[in-house]
């Protein structure tokens, strides 16, 4: 029996991960390196990015780190100019807010859309336009069940930004298919990352909320990273335009 069979291998692939200094992005970068990928890590903070880099499996060609605030156009352009040819990208950089809709001013929507929608869409657009995404490459957008599969009170501003991202994902999947570039998203339920421990919702409320998940807990970053590995790998060669719900059964 050949035990080397592994359709999920990322060996030979160069993969960009944004938001790589924390949470889902950091975990995705680490696990992708274990699957054999060469990583290009992007985030805003050098020190925290270095912490991620230190946890990667070594690669013969070396990993790359790029500093950029993706909400600043010049920084996106500078980063894109520095990118090597890519076989995959996981766009994790994002933010969240919990705000009843009656307080969702244009300013609050703009803040959320700048980070969660315009930043990843602009990056994806430039990577495609500059032909950095190689044939058979795969783009994975980290969206959310919020805004498409779940509509919890207080999540409207956040959910709308992620729903918009899911919409562009499908258009990109259609258009980019001409170059055999695949585009999919992952829609996580609540995942235990620093993002959810900012205090608007108390730890007690979070613990109570986690009980509402059929599988009995919030997600861990590796639950999402493993989905990203599937979408990046050749195992998903015939999959594009799909939003992969990974939510412990919450949205059923």
């Amino acid at each position: 029996m050949n035990t080397d069979y592994n359709p999920f291998s990322l060996a030979g692939k160069t993969i960009l991960v944004t938001g790589a200094s924390s949470g889902i992005g950091q975990c995705t970068a680490i696990l992708c390196s274990r699957m054999g990928a060469r990583l290009v890590l992007a985030a805003r903070n050098q020190e925290r990015l270095q912490e991620t880099l230190n946890q990667l499996n070594e690669h013969p060609d070396g990993h790359v780190t790029l500093l950029a605030d993706l909400t600043v156009q010049e920084e996106v352009e500078r980063m894109v100019a520095a990118l090597p040819p890519l076989n995959g990208a996981v766009l994790c950089a994002g933010n969240s807010t919990t705000l009843p809709l009656q307080f969702g001013s244009r300013e609050k929507f703009d803040e959320m859309f700048d980070v969660n929608f315009f930043a990843p869409v602009e990056l994806m657009r430039l990577m495609y336009k500059k032909k950095l995404l190689q044939k058979n490459s795969s783009v994975v957008l980290i969206a959310s069940i919020g805004g498409t599969h779940s509509f919890m009170p207080g999540n409207g501003v956040y959910g709308a930004s992620k729903a918009a991202l899911n919409s562009v994902m499908r258009y990109a999947a259609r258009e980019f298919a001409t170059r055999r570039v695949r585009v999919n998203s992952i829609c996580p339920g609540m995942v235990d990352t620093p993002l959810i421990h900012r205090g608007t919702i108390t730890e007690e409320q979070l613990a109570e909320d986690a009980k509402r998940y059929p599988l009995g807990r919030y997600g861990n970053p590796d639950d999402i990273a493993n989905g990203a590995i599937y979408l990046l790998s050749d195992a998903s060669s015939w999959l594009t335009g799909h939003d992969l719900v990974i939510d412990g059964g919450f949205s059923i």
Binding site: T98, P153, T202, E204
Partner: protein, 77 residues
């Protein structure tokens, strides 16, 4: 910061509770209309009206509207 105005802003988030019922000494978490969404509305109201960030634990540690007012006032200065 004006306590009376804070109480009015606080009461403004409620729909069913009689505005007359709100005073500095109101134990707001005992109100029937109190809910987790109401807590989010109070947090958002404080951000909106006073430009102060309060957290879920500030709500938990406050019994009365006066308690919460004191937290916001302290953070405002």
């Amino acid at each position: 910061m004006n306590l009376q105005e804070f109480i009015e802003n606080f009461a403004g988030q409620f729909d069913e509770t009689d505005p007359e019922e709100f005073s500095a000494e109101t134990k707001f978490k005992d109100l029937e209309e109190w809910s987790s969404l109401m807590a989010l509305s109070i947090i958002a109201m404080v951000d909106d009206e006073y430009d102060v960030i309060i957290k879920g634990n500030d709500i938990i540690s406050s019994d009365t509207i006066q308690d919460l007012f004191s937290i916001v006032e302290k953070r405002k200065s």
